[in-house]
C-alpha cells in the first residue's frame, strides 16, 4: 500500500472510531436519562459508570491502536510497523484476559508514551529518521506534542485516577495538547514568531 493511501485510510479509520465514541456518548445520555428518574438512582450510579466505561474502553483501545499505527509510522517501515502493532495488540489482549481491560489499556498506553516521547525527542532534534505526512518542523513538533499529550491524558484517566500526582499529570497532558494543537494548526504563524524573535 502506498504511503499516501495508508495515511488516508488511517485517517478514515480514526474518524470512524471517533464517530463510534460519539455513539457511545449518545447511548450514555439516553441511558442516564432512563436511570436518573428511578428512585434508586444513587445506588445505580456506580454500576452506570462501570457499564459506560466498559462500552468506551474497546473503542479507546481501537483509537490507541490507530494512534499506535500512526505514531510509530514516523519511526518504522510499514511492514515492521504492522508486525509490531500486531505484537502490541496481542500483548494487550493477553494482559486483558489474564488481568482486566484496564491493565491491558495501561500497557498499551505505557508503550505509546514511550514511543511518542522518542518521536518527540527525535522531531525536536530534527532527526531524518522520523517520517511525517505533513512537512514543516513546527507541524511535526505540534503533531508529536499533541499525540503525546493525548496518550498521557488517557493513561492518567485510566490508571492514575487515585494517584496523588493525578492532577499534576493532567495539567502536563493538557499543556502538551494545547501547545501541540496550536503548533499543528498555526505552523506558519509560529514559524514567523520564531524567526522574528531569533
Amino acid at each position: 500500500m502506498k504511503s499516501k493511501n495508508y495515511d488516508y485510510y488511517l485517517i478514515i479509520l480514526t474518524s470512524l472510531i471517533l464517530l463510534a465514541i460519539g455513539l457511545v456518548c449518545i447511548y450514555g445520555i439516553i441511558y442516564y436519562n432512563f436511570l436518573a428518574v428511578k428512585p434508586e438512582w444513587s445506588s445505580l450510579y456506580a454500576e452506570y459508570i462501570e457499564i459506560m466505561n466498559s462500552y468506551l474502553y474497546p473503542f479507546l483501545v481501537l483509537l490507541l491502536i490507530s494512534l499506535g499505527l500512526c505514531i510509530p509510522k514516523r519511526l518504522l517501515g510499514q511492514d515492521i510497523l504492522i508486525k509490531s502493532s500486531a505484537l502490541i495488540l496481542g500483548a494487550t489482549l493477553v494482559l486483558t484476559v489474564i488481568f482486566n481491560l484496564e491493565a491491558g489499556l495501561g500497557f498499551i498506553l505505557a508503550v505509546m508514551i514511550g514511543i511518542q516521547s522518542m518521536v518527540l525527542i527525535m522531531t525536536f532534534r530534527k532527526s531524518r529518521a522520523v517520517r511525517f505526512e505533513k512537512h514543516g518542523y513546527v507541524v511535526r513538533l505540534g503533531s508529536s506534542l499533541l499525540h503525546l499529550g493525548l496518550v498521557v491524558l488517557i493513561f492518567n484517566f485510566v490508571t492514575l485516577r487515585e494517584s496523588p500526582s493525578h492532577i499534576l499529570i493532567f495539567w502536563t497532558g493538557t499543556l502538551l495538547i494545547t501547545a501541540g494543537t496550536i503548533f499543528a494548526l498555526y505552523p506558519d504563524r509560529i514559524t514567523r514568531l520564531w524567526y522574528t524573535e531569533q
Binding site: 478514515i12 480514526t14 474518524s15 450514555g28 445520555i29 436519562n33 452506570y48 491524558l153 494545547t178
Partner: protein, 326 residues
C-alpha cells in the same frame, strides 16, 4: 450599602436594559430579513451590513450594562458569616464575583460574540447573510426566553433575597443559608474555573457558527473558499473547545467531589461534540481527494448539530450540569 441598593441596581438594569434588548431584537430581525433578501435576490447588502453593525454595537452596550450590574452586586452584597461558621471555613465574609455567562446571560454572551465574529467574514457576503439569519433567530430566543434584563439573574437574586430574609428571621435560618452560600460562592460564582471554562466554550461555539455556515455553502455550492473559511474558524474554536473542556475536569473534581458527575449527559454530549470536531479536522486533511469535500462539509454540519444538542442538554435532560430536576 446593602439589599436596598442591590435592589435599586437590579431595577435600574431592567430600566436601561429593556430598551437595548428591544432594539437588538428589531435590528437583528431586520438583519435576518435583509440576509434572506440578499440570499434570494443579491440585493440590499449595504442595509444588511449596517444592521449587523448596529446589532453588534447594541449587544456590546447591553453587555456593558450587565458588567455594571455585576459590579454593583459585588459592591452592595456582603455575606458576613456567623461567628460559629468562621471557625469551620477560611473566610469571615464573602462577596459575589458573578461571571457574565450564567443563567439567562449565557445565551446573550454567545449571541454577542457570534454577532461580532460575523462581522469578520465580510469578504463573503453570502456567509454574512446566513449568519445574519442565525443572529436574528438567536436574538429572538434571547428576547423571549433568555432575556438577561427582564428578570436579571433570577437564581442569584433568590439566593441574595434568601440571605437577607434569613438575616431578618434570626439565627436558625442564617446557618443553613450561610453554609449553602459559602459553597455556591467559593466553588461556583467566584471560582477561577468559572471565569475560564464557560467563556472559552461559548467563544468556541461562536466561531463554530461561521464554520457551520461555511460548511453549508460548501456542501451546496462546492467552492474551495468556503472550505477554507470553515477551517479557518474551526481552528481557534477547536483549541478553545479542547482546552475549555479539559479545564472543566479539575474544577469538577474540586467542586463536585463524590457527586454523580462522570458520564453526566452534558459531559457525554461535550465528548460527542469534541469527537465529531476532531473527526472533522482529521477528515479535512484529505478534503481535496475525490468526494471527501462532501464528507467534511457534511461532518461540519453534523458537528454543529451536536453543538446545539449539547447546549440544549442542560434544559432537556437531568444531570449535574442541568436545570432539569429528576
Amino acid at each position: 450599602m446593602g439589599f436596598s441598593e442591590y435592589l435599586a441596581a437590579r431595577d435600574f438594569l431592567t430600566f436601561i436594559g429593556q430598551p437595548v434588548i428591544t432594539y437588538i431584537l428589531i435590528f437583528s430581525l431586520l438583519q435576518g430579513f435583509f440576509g434572506i433578501l440578499y440570499l434570494l435576490k443579491k440585493k440590499y447588502y449595504g442595509y444588511l451590513i449596517k444592521c449587523s453593525y448596529i446589532t453588534s454595537g447594541l449587544y456590546v452596550l447591553g453587555f456593558i450594562f450587565l458588567i455594571w450590574f455585576h459590579v454593583q452586586i459585588y459592591n452592595t452584597v456582603v455575606i458576613e458569616y456567623p461567628v460559629f461558621m468562621r471557625e469551620m471555613i477560611p473566610a469571615d465574609e464573602s462577596r459575589f464575583i458573578i461571571p457574565l455567562w450564567i443563567e439567562s446571560e449565557k445565551l446573550y454572551f454567545w449571541a454577542m460574540i457570534a454577532s461580532i465574529l460575523a462581522l469578520t467574514v465580510q469578504r463573503r457576503e453570502d456567509i454574512v447573510s446566513f449568519t445574519g439569519i442565525v443572529i436574528s433567530i438567536f436574538s429572538f430566543i434571547v428576547y423571549f426566553s433568555s432575556n438577561p434584563f427582564i428578570d436579571p439573574l433570577p437564581i442569584v437574586h433568590s439566593e441574595i433575597a434568601g440571605w437577607y430574609s434569613a438575616l431578618a428571621q434570626g439565627d436558625a435560618g442564617i446557618y443553613q443559608a450561610a453554609g449553602i452560600l459559602y459553597g455556591r460562592i467559593t466553588y461556583y460564582y467566584n471560582s477561577t474555573y468559572m471565569w475560564v471554562h464557560p467563556p472559552m466554550l461559548f467563544i468556541a461555539y461562536a466561531f463554530l457558527i461561521i464554520t457551520f455556515a461555511a460548511c453549508i455553502f460548501m456542501l451546496f455550492r462546492h467552492v474551495q473558499v468556503y472550505d477554507e473559511i470553515a477551517y479557518m474558524y474551526a481552528k481557534p474554536a477547536y483549541i478553545l473547545l479542547t482546552v475549555g473542556m479539559l479545564i472543566g475536569y479539575p474544577w469538577a473534581i474540586e467542586a463536585w467531589k463524590d457527586s454523580a458527575w462522570w458520564w453526566d449527559p452534558k459531559i457525554s454530549g461535550s465528548i460527542l461534540m469534541w469527537a465529531l470536531y476532531t473527526s472533522y479536522l482529521h477528515a479535512r486533511i484529505y478534503a481535496n481527494r475525490g468526494k471527501m469535500w462532501k464528507i467534511t462539509a457534511s461532518l461540519g454540519i453534523i458537528c454543529f448539530s451536536s453543538l446545539v444538542f449539547t447546549y440544549l442538554l442542560t434544559y432537556i435532560v437531568p444531570g449535574i450540569h442541568s436545570v432539569v430536576q429528576t
